[in-house]
C-alpha cells in the first residue's frame, strides 16, 4: 500500500498520509469545510470522539469497498481510506445532526457569556453563533455546581464545562502526576480534584488553554478585561524549564501585560505547551523579547481591535453576476 491516500471532502480532493483522520485531512484543505472540534486536540493523544460536533457523512467508504458508512462518524477519530468521499457542509443530514449536538451542549450551559472571561475566544460561543440557534427548547432548571478554586491560579467553573476531557488528557500527558479527573456519571459528571486538592505542578496552567469554554479560567486574568479589548503580541523568553520553549502570546491592555497564553494556531490549538512560570509569573514587558503582533483571523472578535489589518474590509462586496442579471431593474428611474 502506498503512503499517500486520496480523500475527497465536500468535492475537494486532497492527498494525505495513510492513517490521517478525516478531520486532519480537512484541515489540510482548510476553509469552511473543516469540521468544528470541541474535544479533539491534536497535541493530546487519545482525545476526541466525545463531543460529536465534528461528525461527517462518509458517502463512499473507499475505492475497494465503496459502501457508505451506515452512521455519521466522528471525523476526528476516523482514519481516511483511499478513495473515501466525505460530506461535511454539503450534507443537510450532517448540518442537522450538528445543530442537534450544539443544542445538546447548550441545554446545561449557563450562557453567562456577559460575565465569562472566555467570551470572545470561546469555541462554544463560535459554534453556537455559526449554527444560529436563537432560542432554547429546554424549559427546565440547568444542572449547577459550586465554583471551585483549584490552586491559587486556576478556577474551575463546572457549570460551563462541556466535558470534553481535554484537561484530563493534559493532566495525564503533560504534567507529571494527574490529580484531577471525572467524577460521577451522565449529565451530573464533573471535573474534580479529589476533595478540592490543589493542582500543583509546572504545567498545570495548560488546562486553561485547552479548555474550549470558560470552565477553567486564569485567576490572574479573571475580570481584568474583555479579551477583545486586549492586544495580542507574540513574544519569547529564555525559559529554564526543560520542556517549555518560552514562546507565548502576551495580551496587552495599554502598557500592561494582562495575561500570558501559549500561542494558538488557526484551529485554536496551542503550538507548544508552556510552563506555569511563563504563564503566571512573568507579566512585565521587560521579561520578554517582543516579536510581532499575533495574527488573528478576521472572523474572530479579537480582530476588531487589531492593528494588523489597517485597511478596512469591504462591508458589502459587489456581486457582479447579480448586477448583470438585474441590470434593467437597477437602472430604472422609478422603482414602483
Amino acid at each position: 500500500m502506498s503512503d499517500k491516500v486520496k480523500v475527497t471532502i465536500d468535492g475537494i480532493t486532497v492527498e494525505v498520509d495513510n492513517g490521517t483522520t478525516i478531520l486532519n485531512a480537512a484541515r489540510q484543505i482548510g476553509g469552511d469545510i473543516v469540521p468544528p472540534a470541541m474535544c479533539y486536540y491534536s497535541k493530546l493523544e487519545g482525545s476526541g470522539g466525545k463531543c460529536r460536533t465534528c461528525i461527517v457523512k462518509v458517502s463512499k467508504g473507499s475505492e475497494k469497498d465503496p459502501r457508505p458508512m451506515p452512521k455519521l462518524v466522528a471525523s476526528c477519530r476516523t482514519t481516511v481510506m483511499d478513495g473515501m468521499e466525505v460530506l461535511n457542509i454539503t450534507s443537510p443530514e450532517v448540518l442537522e445532526a450538528r445543530a442537534g449536538v450544539v443544542e445538546f451542549l447548550l441545554i446545561n450551559h449557563p450562557l453567562d457569556c456577559p460575565v465569562c472571561d472566555q467570551a470572545g475566544e470561546c469555541d462554544l460561543q463560535n459554534l453556537s453563533y455559526e449554527h444560529g440557534l436563537q432560542q432554547t427548547r429546554f424549559e427546565f432548571e440547568r444542572r449547577t455546581f459550586e465554583r471551585i478554586d483549584i490552586g491559587d491560579k486556576i478556577q474551575l467553573h463546572m457549570n460551563r464545562c462541556i466535558l470534553c476531557y481535554r484537561c484530563v488528557f493534559v493532566a495525564d500527558q503533560i504534567t507529571n502526576k494527574r490529580v484531577h479527573g471525572i467524577l460521577n456519571r451522565g449529565d451530573h459528571s464533573e471535573i474534580s480534584t479529589y476533595i478540592q486538592q490543589v493542582v500543583e505542578n509546572d504545567f498545570s496552567g495548560n488546562v486553561i488553554d485547552v479548555c474550549p469554554v470558560g470552565a477553567l479560567t486564569d485567576k490572574t486574568f479573571r475580570f481584568k478585561n474583555r479579551v477583545w479589548f486586549t492586544k495580542p503580541v507574540d513574544a519569547h523568553r529564555d525559559c529554564n524549564h526543560d520542556t517549555c520553549n518560552g514562546k507565548v502570546t502576551l495580551w496587552y491592555k495599554g502598557e500592561n501585560v494582562l495575561r500570558v497564553t501559549a500561542r494558538k494556531d488557526e484551529f485554536g490549538e496551542v503550538e507548544a505547551f508552556i510552563c506555569n512560570e511563563c504563564r503566571f509569573d512573568k507579566k512585565l514587558t521587560a521579561d520578554w523579547v517582543i516579536e510581532h503582533p499575533t495574527h488573528i483571523d478576521d472572523t474572530s472578535v479579537i480582530a476588531s481591535n487589531h492593528y494588523e489589518t489597517l485597511i478596512p474590509l469591504h462591508v458589502i462586496q459587489p456581486n457582479e453576476a447579480l448586477q448583470a442579471a438585474n441590470e434593467i431593474e437597477l437602472h430604472k428611474k422609478v422603482k414602483y
Binding site: G48, G49, K50, C51, R52, T53, I55, K71, L72, A74, R77, E96, A97, G100, V101, E103, F104, L105, I107, N108, R137, F138, F140, I162, L163, Y165, G181, I182, N184, R185, G186, D187, H188, S189
Partner: protein, 455 residues
C-alpha cells in the same frame, strides 16, 4: 415439549455442585474438545451451528471468534460479559445461580478455542451471591483438574477469574467492560480498534455473553450441525427468555427459536396468558432498549402472518412495525398499564446510566427524562411530543456506543405506536393521573392490505 439444551437438568437437586453436574454428563464437552478437537475445529463447529450472540446484538459468535487477531507472542483473552443489567432481562443471573458449571465448562472450551490462557468473568457488582457461586464452582472445577495447569493432561493451561463490576449498566458495553476490567472508569472506547484487534490491556480479546458461552457446551457435545437443526432460518438453537410483567407465570424459559409469540404468551407450557384475566396491551420483546410494540403488532406481522420468537421475525418490518429480540427480556403489559409512564421509567433508567462521555447521550437522555416526567404528571403540552421525537432522533446514531440508541428507541416506538396515549395525558391532565388509558385499539387486528391490480 421443546428441546432444552441449557436448562435440561435445572430441576435436578444439587446441579450447582460439581459432582451432580458431572454425573449428568457435565464436562464432557471439555474432554471432547481438548482431547479430540483442535481450536480451529471448535471455531468451525461454532460457525456451523449458526449461534448468534445472546447479549443483544445477535452477531454470529463463530464469525466473531474468527475475527480475533492472532499475533505471535501476544496474549489473547476471553472475557465473559455477565454484567446483565438491562431492565427486563435476568436470564444470565438465573443460569449462573443454578447451573454455574455450564458457564465454567463453556468458558474452558471457548478459551481453548481462542487460545486464551487467562479468562475473566465480569459480573455485575450487585450480583454478589452469583459471584460467590461462581468462585465456588471454579474452585471445584480446579480441584477436579478441569482448570489450572495442564488440564486433563493435555498440556493446556487456563486460569479463570471472576471480577465484580461496580454495578453500572454502561459496563455491559464491551469496550466499557474492558476499561472497567482494567481498573479504569467505565467509559466506552471509541471504535475502531475493535476488541478483536486491541481489547483488554491492548491484546486481542473476545467478549461474549454468558448464554452464548454456555451454548458452546451443547454445540461441542452434539456437533454444530445438530445445533443448527433447532430453530428457524438464521436463528438457530435455543434461547433463554426472561418473561416478566403481567403474566400468569413469569420466569426464565428456554425456547426453541421460531416459537410463535402468541404461543409463548398464552400456552400453559410457557407464560400461561395474561394475569387476572386481563388483555394484552403491549410488549417489550427483548429488554428495555428495544422498541415497544402494541398487542396487534406483537402477535401478527404487518402482513397478517404470526410473529415468531426469532431474530428475523421480531425485527420484520423494521422500526415501523417491528422490534428486536435483543437480550430476550420479554415484558408484557396488560390493559391497565400506562405506556407513557413506562417510557418515562425506561428513560429515567437511561438518564441515570448514561456515562456522560459524549454530548448527545449525556444531555439528551436527561432532557427526554424531564420532558416525559412532565407529561406523566399531567403538566405536558402538545409540543412536548414533537420535542421528544426531535430529541430522540438527534441522539440516535450520533453517539459513541449503543446506549444512545437504546435510550432513543423506546421513546421513538412509544410515540410511534402510542401517540394517542401521550395525547390523553396532555388533554386530560387530572383524569390521566388516576384512570388508565386502557386498550384503545392496540389489540385490534391490523387489516391485511392486499394489492389489487387495476384492469
Amino acid at each position: 415439549m421443546s428441546r432444552k439444551l441449557l436448562l435440561e437438568h435445572i430441576n435436578v437437586p444439587g446441579i450447582n455442585t460439581f459432582e451432580v453436574y458431572r454425573q449428568k454428563g457435565g464436562y464432557r464437552a471439555v474432554e471432547k474438545a481438548l482431547k479430540t478437537l483442535t481450536p480451529e475445529e471448535i471455531v468451525e463447529e461454532v460457525k456451523k451451528s449458526g449461534l448468534r450472540g445472546r447479549g443483544g446484538a445477535g452477531f454470529p459468535t463463530g464469525m466473531k471468534w474468527s475475527f480475533l487477531a492472532k499475533p505471535e507472542g501476544v496474549a489473547r483473552y476471553l472475557v465473559c460479559n455477565a454484567d446483565e443489567s438491562e431492565p427486563g432481562t435476568f436470564k444470565d443471573r438465573y443460569l449462573m445461580t443454578h447451573i454455574p458449571h455450564a458457564l465454567i465448562e463453556g468458558m474452558i472450551v471457548s478459551s481453548f478455542a481462542l487460545g486464551a490462557k487467562v479468562s475473566y468473568i465480569y459480573v455485575r457488582g450487585e450480583m454478589m451471591p452469583q459471584i460467590r457461586i461462581l468462585e465456588k464452582a471454579i474452585a471445584e472445577a480446579k480441584a477436579a483438574g478441569f482448570l489450572g495447569k495442564n488440564i486433563l493432561g493435555t498440556g493446556y493451561d487456563l486460569e479463570l477469574y471472576v471480577q465484580p463490576g461496580g454495578g453500572a449498566y454502561i459496563c455491559g458495553e464491551e469496550t466499557a467492560l474492558l476499561e472497567s476490567l482494567e481498573g479504569k472508569r467505565g467509559n466506552p472506547r471509541i471504535k475502531p480498534p475493535f476488541p478483536a484487534i486491541a481489547g483488554l490491556y491492548g491484546c486481542p480479546t473476545v467478549v461474549n455473553n454468558v448464554e452464548s458461552i454456555a451454548a458452546i457446551v451443547p454445540i461441542i457435545n452434539d456437533g454444530g450441525e445438530e445445533y443448527a437443526k433447532i430453530g428457524i432460518g438464521r436463528s438457530t438453537g435455543t434461547k433463554l427468555i426472561s418473561a416478566s410483567g403481567n403474566l400468569v407465570k413469569p420466569g426464565v424459559y428456554e425456547i426453541e427459536l421460531g416459537l410463535p409469540v402468541e404461543e409463548f404468551i398464552y400456552s400453559d407450557e410457557y407464560c400461561g396468558g395474561i394475569a387476572n384475566g386481563k388483555r394484552l396491551k403491549a410488549t417489550v420483546a427483548g429488554g428495555s432498549s428495544v422498541p415497544v410494540l402494541p398487542a396487534n403488532l406483537t402477535l401478527k406481522l404487518a402482513n397478517g402472518e404470526p410473529r415468531l420468537m426469532s431474530y428475523e421475525s421480531l425485527s420484520e418490518g423494521g422500526f415501523a412495525t417491528g422490534t428486536m429480540l435483543g437480550s430476550g427480556g420479554f415484558i408484557a403489559f396488560d390493559e391497565d398499564q400506562s405506556i407513557v409512564r413506562n417510557t418515562w421509567n425506561f428513560s429515567r433508567f437511561y438518564y441515570h446510566e448514561s456515562c456522560g462521555q459524549c454530548s448527545p447521550c449525556r444531555e439528551g437522555t436527561g432532557w427526554m427524562e424531564k420532558v416525559l416526567n412532565r407529561i406523566v404528571h399531567g403538566k405536558g403540552n402538545m409540543q412536548d411530543v414533537d420535542l421528544l421525537w426531535d430529541i430522540q432522533r438527534r441522539i440516535e446514531g450520533n453517539t459513541i456506543c449503543p446506549l444512545g440508541d437504546a435510550a432513543a428507541w423506546p421513546v421513538a416506538s412509544a410515540i410511534r405506536h402510542f401517540r394517542d396515549e401521550f395525547e390523553y395525558y396532555i388533554n386530560e391532565p387530572v383524569k390521566s393521573q388516576t384512570v388508565p388509558y386502557g386498550m384503545a385499539n392496540y389489540a385490534v387486528p391490523i387489516e391485511k392490505i392486499t394489492v389489487t391490480e387495476e384492469k
